[in-house]
């Protein structure tokens, strides 16, 4: 305790800004975590992570076993998906998924058989013999993504590149968002697994030291981790002050090491890698037990449930099932939120499944969702700038985002915004600032996509134009050559006729007499009919002229 106090006094590092929203963590820590009941149906979205959606490798009607891979990673930044229990694939089509858009997306649906029968498991006990690349492959095949909320494939974060030396692995057990206690519980209950996971991660990264960070409001978790860390050299447990958003990667790095991550950069650039504590436990299970990522700790809380608690839920479990397991009545809820109140978002239905990034479900009743006072104009109080953990000027960003002046917004470093919501939280005018920034970011990305498409279209159109021109030129060239060839052959023919001039002249003479005869006959006929008397005369002369010219 005293040691901790000294450590805190000595540590001068801190990130700027931050807020202290009401914790609301007490509700869900009164009982220990419970294992979920297996629901009748699991809905597994193909897109549960950052990157490309997974690609199904099972068909409707297939029997699957627990832990069996049912969708493979599609490309480098992607993650595989596994069957959380045994059963039958009943459908592969679009279902509602947890996403702020409320849109449906492709999912694999499994009707569970209740047997929970494991498929083949490949446990590696002597992983120390494996090199970093082989370890990363195990972690990739297990479909492990960052369990803190963003869901970035973990094996990529364990691959800093050959040229980069990683000094510090930071384990993130901060969990700064209100209501959420799932990381608290995994640290209390699985500290041993986390520690072994850390050893594997350090081996893969070749990291010298490891710092486990726990916020001050989790003394039990801090205790448990300290007990475990005692036996391992190079691992330090650090208690960090309770302030939101301490759990955000870049802010945590700044607070722990005093180093700032460069704008648009990654923590690896300054020799640091950050992983969530739950990810470490998942890595342990994947390597030691051959268990892919098929379940996770989920905090189910809010006024809509009678007993808030942490559930070790299977991926794909509909949220309504978990709310029922906490004595909540899904039908009476006015809103279900995934994630914390600061960065979470509302679900369009309580039927959406738990996915790899679901850390918390907040069941809200009508009294929670009070209608908001109207948004008032910005009074330039500057409260938002004081709390911004990235030292941005939220007010300026707001003006530019509101007037859709994207260039100006980018000048004010829009893309350094971590969307933590501190500015919206303190705004006395209740302006939904973060929503403006999110919208502006989306618009800029959409513009970039459209620009790329337009460039492709321009390229294709220009290529087509040049092709058409080339074809026309080639055609003209062919024509010219043909003409030349024709002229040459005519010349040849003329030369032949010149040698045999007499016959040619006779022939043409005969021909001309024949034509004259025909014309005369026609003239006579017309005269007989008494038509076009005057017209016939010039025709006659014309005919004569023609004959003359051809004669000459």
């Amino acid at each position: 305790m005293i040691e901790n106090l000294i450590q805190r006094l000595l540590s001068t590092h801190k990130f700027p800004g931050g807020v202290h929203p009401p914790q609301h963590k007490a509700e869900s820590i009164s009982v220990g975590s419970v294992k979920t009941e297996i629901p009748a149906r699991l809905i597994l979205p193909l897109h549960q992570h950052i990157g490309e959606p997974a690609e199904p490798i099972v068909a409707v009607g297939d029997k699957v076993l627990k832990g069996q891979r049912i969708a493979k990673a599609n490309g480098y930044v992607s993650a595989a998906i596994h069957a959380p229990t045994s059963g039958t694939v009943s459908d592969i089509s679009d279902y509602p998924i947890p996403h702020p858009s409320g849109l449906n997306a492709p999912c694999i649906v499994i009707e569970t058989d209740g047997e929970d029968k494991w498929g083949e498991r490949l446990a590696v006990q002597d992983w120390k013999k494996l090199d970093a690349s082989a370890l990363r492959n195990i972690i990739r095949d297990a479909g492990i993504v960052g369990l803190g909320g963003a869901g970035f494939p973990s094996f990529i974060k364990l691959n800093p590149g050959a040229s980069k030396q990683i000094d510090t692995l930071i384990l993130n057990g901060v969990e700064c968002e209100p209501y959420i206690t799932c990381d608290d519980f995994i640290m209390r209950e699985r500290s041993g697994e986390i520690m072994l996971g850390i050893t594997i991660m350090r081996h893969a990264l070749n990291a010298k030291e490891c710092i486990i960070t726990v916020e001050e409001n989790k003394p039990e978790a801090f205790q448990a981790m300290t007990m475990m860390a005692k036996e391992t050299s190079g691992v330090k447990v650090m208690s960090v002050p309770t302030i939101y958003p301490h759990g955000s990667e870049k802010q945590l790095v700044q607070a722990v090491t005093g180093k700032e991550v460069p704008a648009n950069g990654l923590t690896t650039q300054i020799g640091i890698v950050c992983h969530n504590v739950a990810t470490a436990a998942a890595v342990y299970r994947a390597v030691y037990q051959g268990e892919p990522l098929i379940s996770r700790y989920v905090t189910v809380t809010g006024s809509g449930v009678k007993q808030a608690k942490n559930i070790r839920a299977l991926m794909g479990t509909p949220m309504s099932e978990l709310i029922k397991q906490c004595d909540g009545e899904p039908a009476s809820l006015s809103r279900v939120i995934m994630g914390g109140p600061m960065m979470g978002y509302a679900m369009q239905t309580d039927q959406v499944p738990v996915i790899k990034t679901t850390n918390c479900i907040i069941a809200c009743t009508a009294e929670d969702v009070v209608s908001e006072p109207a948004v008032m104009p910005c009074i330039r109080c500057g409260a938002c700038a004081e709390v911004c953990p990235v030292s941005l000027l939220p007010q300026q960003l707001y003006w530019h985002a509101k007037s859709r002046d994207h260039d100006k917004a980018q000048e004010f470093n829009l893309f350094d915004c971590i969307e933590c919501g501190c500015c919206s939280y303190v705004c006395p005018s209740k302006i939904p600032l973060v929503q403006y920034y999110r919208h502006a970011k989306g618009e800029i990305w959409a513009d970039e996509r459209e620009k790329a498409l337009a460039d492709i279209a321009r390229g294709r159109h220009e290529f087509r134009q040049t092709r058409i021109e080339r074809e026309a030129a080639e055609k003209a060239e062919r024509h010219r050559k043909k003409k030349e060839a024709l002229a040459a052959s005519k010349k040849k023919a003329a030369a032949i006729t010149a040698t045999d001039g007499k016959t040619a002249a006779e022939n043409s003479g005969n021909k001309n007499t024949a034509i004259d005869d025909a014309i005369a006959k026609a003239k006579a006929k017309r005269l007989q009919q008494g038509h076009a008397h005057e017209k016939a005369a010039p025709e006659n002369t014309a005919g004569k002229n023609k004959t003359e010219t051809s004669d000459s």
Partner: protein, 200 residues
């Protein structure tokens, strides 16, 4: 007097030479304004602006022969961007050129396609694949939605324009309308369950 005239003549000659060299060595190929305008146009090559493609329209705008409000696929955003670039007032889209519509791609009904290749010849971006008396198909991602293939098609309802559906990967947060329920929940100073547990 003479020295002044000589000095000025020498200066004139020197600058004349510099300008002459600059004109030859720093010559800009093409009109950069046309390129700039062209880069703002949506490149559908649909011809609704009455010019045969985006580049000719850009050339016409640069020459002052066309107005900036003749591009329906670009719509309001393109008019605004052109107005900003050229320093003129933005105006409403000219209804004579058409209306701004949702983005769509052409789909060929492969059952009814007779393989006449007319749509292939009409497509300005070579996005239709096929050969004479063989079924044709549109390469979806390359289609600009210009509709130029519909008119030459001799079969009724063979080519249709299908609007692009909202995709989850391209979805964007809506422009705020004032709902801040989430911030409200975080700010809610009343504990959600019993106050006794809250203090624990």
């Amino acid at each position: 007097m003479l020295s002044a005239i000589l000095a000025l003549s020498a200066l004139a000659l020197a600058f004349g030479l510099i300008l002459g060299f600059a004109a030859v060595y720093f010559k800009v190929e093409g009109d950069p304004l046309v390129e700039q305008i062209d880069s703002l146009l949506p490149q559908t090559q649909c011809g609704q602006c009455t010019f045969p493609g985006c580049k000719p329209y850009a050339t016409a705008i640069a020459a002052g022969e066309a107005d900036i409000n003749q591009c329906p696929p670009g719509g309001e955003a393109t008019i605004q961007a052109l107005a900003d670039l050229l320093g003129v007032e933005p105006k409403e889209l000219n209804p004579e050129n058409g209306e701004e519509s949702v983005k769509a791609v052409a789909i060929i009904n492969e059952e009814t396609c007779i393989g006449c290749t007319r749509c292939i010849q009409a497509c300005p971006v070579d996005a239709i694949l096929g050969a004479a008396k063989q079924m044709h198909t549109v390469i979806g991602p390359e289609c600009t939605g210009c509709k130029l293939c519909i008119e030459p098609c001799p079969v009724v309802d063979c080519i249709t324009m299908v609007p692009i559906e909202a995709d989850i990967s391209e979805w964007n947060w809506p422009f705020p309308t004032g709902d801040v329920a989430l911030a409200k929940l975080a700010q809610n100073s009343e504990p959600v369950t019993e106050p006794a547990k809250q203090s624990a």
